[in-house]
């Protein structure tokens, strides 16, 4: 059951769900969380492949992705808070101060 095919398919499903979340939801916070989910799917793929080769490369890469995800979360939430200063509602459909 724990074959690499199975874990890769799980990773693919989670990645696809994350992608759908980004496209479907209009709240930047939820979109952002969906992208975090996509990164988790990537991590799952890395760990599966890492098990395939028996090297630690995949796991080290996962640590890097984790770190970057944490940094992105900090910056992204700061941007969302800054955005909130200028408007009460946050919704990507409302973001149209610039057109063209």
């Amino acid at each position: 059951m724990t074959s690499i095919t199975f874990t890769l398919v799980i990773s693919a499903i989670v990645f696809a769900v994350g992608t759908v979340g980004v496209l479907l939801r209009r709240n930047p916070l939820v979109q952002f969380m969906s992208i975090e989910l996509m990164l988790n799917a990537v991590n799952l793929a890395f760990i599966s492949f890492s098990g395939r080769f028996g090297t630690s490369e995949g796991q080290v890469f996962v640590l890097l992705v984790l770190t970057v995800a944490a940094a992105e979360a900090v910056v992204g939430l700061a941007i969302i808070v800054a955005m909130f200063r200028h408007r009460r509602r946050i919704d990507v459909d409302d973001i149209h101060a610039m057109q063209g």
């Binding site: 095919t5 693919a12 992608t19 496209l23 028996g54 630690s56 890097l64 700061a78 200063r85 610039m98």
Partner: protein
């Protein structure tokens, strides 16, 4: 079915179901809680794949730090539930799932047709991941030797010194991280540094009062309308002084609560 397989299956299914919750729930707070579950279940899968350290970090960093940060921001911004999915415009509700399903089909096809699966790539055998990893490790070191014989450009320090049976153990991972992978590790720490600096600069309260602001037209970018100025604090003051506004807010709150 052996117990390990059963546990694995449960973790996997729960991970998928809870990640679907992220997309389906209307209230962003529910989405976040659903995501916490998804992360925890994925951590369970990591443990069964032999990556204990990553599983621990997953729980600590993702569920423990990142998601809590999300919840704090939601609290701060008082986010409201979005529109329910069936009220979205067709393009939004139709395009996303179609693209997602197409992508999923594509990946599954790739997984099923890819060479390594066909050529007996089913390495992590049921019930015995450790032994399977040993086997995989042997295969790997053989192929590395072949590679090294092929060309003059060899990669030092990476091919040797990895004991397959220690992979996934925290000590072995730490050793690798601070020697072979020192360079990306240090760069990752720089990324965290700039994230901290940048978040402070962007999110801190404006040091300039509204009167001192330049007129919007002089700012060089043609904006559609005059932007609403003011920080959270300014907003609070405004709300307290304006009685009608306060009533409106209270009404809105009750509406949310009823929902």
């Amino acid at each position: 079915m052996a117990l390990e397989q059963l546990v694995f299956l449960v973790f996997a299914l729960l991970a998928i179901v809870t990640s679907l919750g992220l997309v389906i729930f209307k209230d962003p707070v529910h989405c976040a809680l659903s995501l916490v579950f998804a992360f925890a279940n994925i951590a369970g899968v990591y443990i069964l794949l032999g990556a204990e350290f990553i599983a621990a970090i997953q729980v600590l960093v993702y569920s423990g730090a990142i998601l809590v940060l999300f919840l704090f921001v939601m609290m701060l911004l008082q986010v409201r539930p979005g529109p329910s999915l069936n009220r979205l415009r067709f393009f939004q509700s139709g395009f996303g799932p179609v693209l997602g399903v197409a992508f999923l089909v594509e990946v599954v096809l790739v997984v099923l047709t890819s060479g390594f699966v066909l050529n007996g790539g089913n390495i992590t055998k049921p019930n015995n991941t450790q032994a399977a990893k040993m086997q995989a490790g042997v295969e790997y070191s053989v192929s590395v030797n072949v590679i090294q014989a092929a060309g003059p450009l060899t990669i030092q320090g990476k091919a040797d010194g990895i004991q397959p049976n220690t992979v996934g153990h925290t000590a072995a991972l730490g050793k690798e991280l601070y020697s072979t992978y020192l360079f990306p590790f240090e760069v990752a720490s720089i990324i965290l540094l700039i994230a901290a600096i940048g978040a402070i600069v962007i999110a801190r309260r404006s040091l300039v009062s509204d009167e001192e602001e330049d007129h919007p037209k002089r700012r060089g970018i043609s904006l559609g309308s005059v932007p609403a100025q003011g920080s959270l604090q300014a907003f609070e003051v405004e709300r307290q002084t304006s009685q009608s506004q306060r009533r409106k807010e209270a009404k809105k709150r009750t509406v949310i609560l009823k929902k």
